[in-house]
């Protein structure tokens, strides 16, 4: 129902959109929006949704081998949350006029991406700790910023997600704490996990601002409210003292407290390595996508059976009322 009519003197839809953005107001699904805004939003939310879904795999790898029933129950709950995050985000994305089937196809065909962080393997139990602490930690830094993004459904999904993330990071840190205070072998395992996950966690926050193709327009439209580098600095500042508390060494010789800036200086991220993984050449790219496609195809009979059941129920309902 288009009830509101624009009077002759009123703003055009494009002017209205700009006014809303300038006023820091949210854009809602039925508002007029520039086609490029819609496309950018779809791409970003879809990529975020796919990341949550694919992100179940590295940790799911350890569910059957968790060291105790307590750890196993926690890990199942955590992975279940990530599935839920994917669904909140797909739901937000669908308000932009793209269907779930299209989104699935785009992921399965490799035409939309997911976060490169999930293309690294989980080699030891300590990786589950490191992921919760670092990967969820970096994700939180990014998602907290996104609760202020300009698209209403995306911002609301982020609020929901952020409420659930604290548990993810704390359970990860608890694992790291336990290992760091454990035997020498456990401490080494924790250090090894930190060594392998540190740099990918910094890189997952996206390319540096001067190289980021989307940043400027995304800032103008209020899609992004903090730049990649700002979020990365926040993450480093929060995380370094935590590593110190654990008695673990951050694998960066350039890491140093900068009194003047009031921030931690850190070394150069290997962006060539990052782009290699984005291009599909990380350790697990093929495996992650193949697993996702297989799960989708293996589930086809369940979806068909559910539809057949629904049709049968409907038939019975009609028979009963006839």
């Amino acid at each position: 129902m288009e009830q509101s009519t624009v009077t002759a003197a009123g703003p055009t839809p494009a002017e209205r959109f700009d006014q809303l953005i300038a006023a820091g107001e949210k854009i809602e699904p039925r508002d007029w929006m520039p086609e490029a805004y819609r496309r950018t939003m779809i791409r970003q939310i879809a990529q975020h949704a796919h990341s949550e879904v694919i992100g179940q795999q590295p940790e799911g790898n350890w569910i059957t081998r968790a060291p105790s029933l307590r750890r196993k129950a926690i890990l199942v709950a955590k992975v279940q949350d990530e599935a839920g995050h994917g669904l909140y985000l797909y739901s937000a994305c669908e308000t932009l006029g793209i269907s779930r089937d299209e989104l699935n196809d785009l992921l399965h065909q490799g035409r939309q991406k997911y976060s490169s962080i999930f293309n690294y393997p989980t080699l030891s139990w300590a990786d589950v700790g490191a992921i919760g602490w670092l990967v969820d930690g970096a994700a939180i830094a990014n998602q907290v910023a996104l609760t202020r993004t300009s698209y209403g459904p995306y911002a609301r999904a982020m609020v929901r997600v952020c409420k659930e993330e604290s548990f993810h990071q704390r359970q990860g840190f608890e694992i790291m704490m336990t290992l760091a205070r454990g035997s020498e072998a456990q401490r080494e395992m924790a250090q090894d996990a930190l060594n392998r996950w540190w740099w990918p966690s910094l890189a997952m926050l996206g390319p540096p601002d001067e190289q980021s193709t989307h940043t400027e327009q995304s800032m103008q439209w209020g899609i992004k409210v903090e730049t990649n580098d700002e979020i990365r600095q926040k993450f480093v500042d929060q995380t370094v003292p935590q590593a110190q508390f654990l008695g673990l060494a951050v694998p960066d010789p350039a890491l140093a407290w900068n009194e003047e800036r009031g921030h931690w200086d850190f070394g150069e991220i290997d962006w060539d390595a990052f782009w290699e993984v984005v291009r599909g050449n990380g350790p697990c790219n093929r495996e992650r996508l193949a697993h996702k496609v297989k799960a989708w195809e293996d589930g086809a009979w369940v979806r068909e059976a559910a539809l057949a059941h629904a049709a049968k129920q409907e038939g019975r309902g009609l028979a009963a009322t006839a």
Partner: protein, 103 residues
């Protein structure tokens, strides 16, 4: 949701079906259930919803949904649906020393 949302056939007044009304108070917030109206069709339901629930600029957007289209959970004996038997889903389950800072 009102209790009557648990029935599949909502009551009618003079043959008018019932519509549930949802109001978005301002941009950035979800539509929230406000109440219901009786109306013969969707357009009229929207008009009534506007007149009944947003006379003082209480909202910027309205939804009306046929009450009969709402499927509600069973209010009785469903503690297992909404129960909270997994304390480890909450951040407070984990004791992290204060000096670690905010996690």
């Amino acid at each position: 949701m009102t209790d009557r949302a648990t029935t599949t056939s909502a009551p009618t007044v003079g043959g008018y079906p019932l519509w549930e009304v949802f109001v978005r108070a301002k941009r950035g917030l979800n539509h929230v259930h406000a109440g219901s109206v009786h109306a013969p069709d969707a357009d009229t339901a929207l008009q009534h919803a506007r007149d009944v629930y947003t006379r003082r600029a209480e909202g910027v957007s309205l939804w009306v949904v046929p009450s009969a289209a709402i499927v509600a959970s069973d209010p009785d004996g469903r503690d297992d649906w909404f129960g909270d038997s997994k304390p480890y889903r909450h951040p407070t389950f984990y004791t992290i020393p204060d000096e670690v800072g905010h996690l």
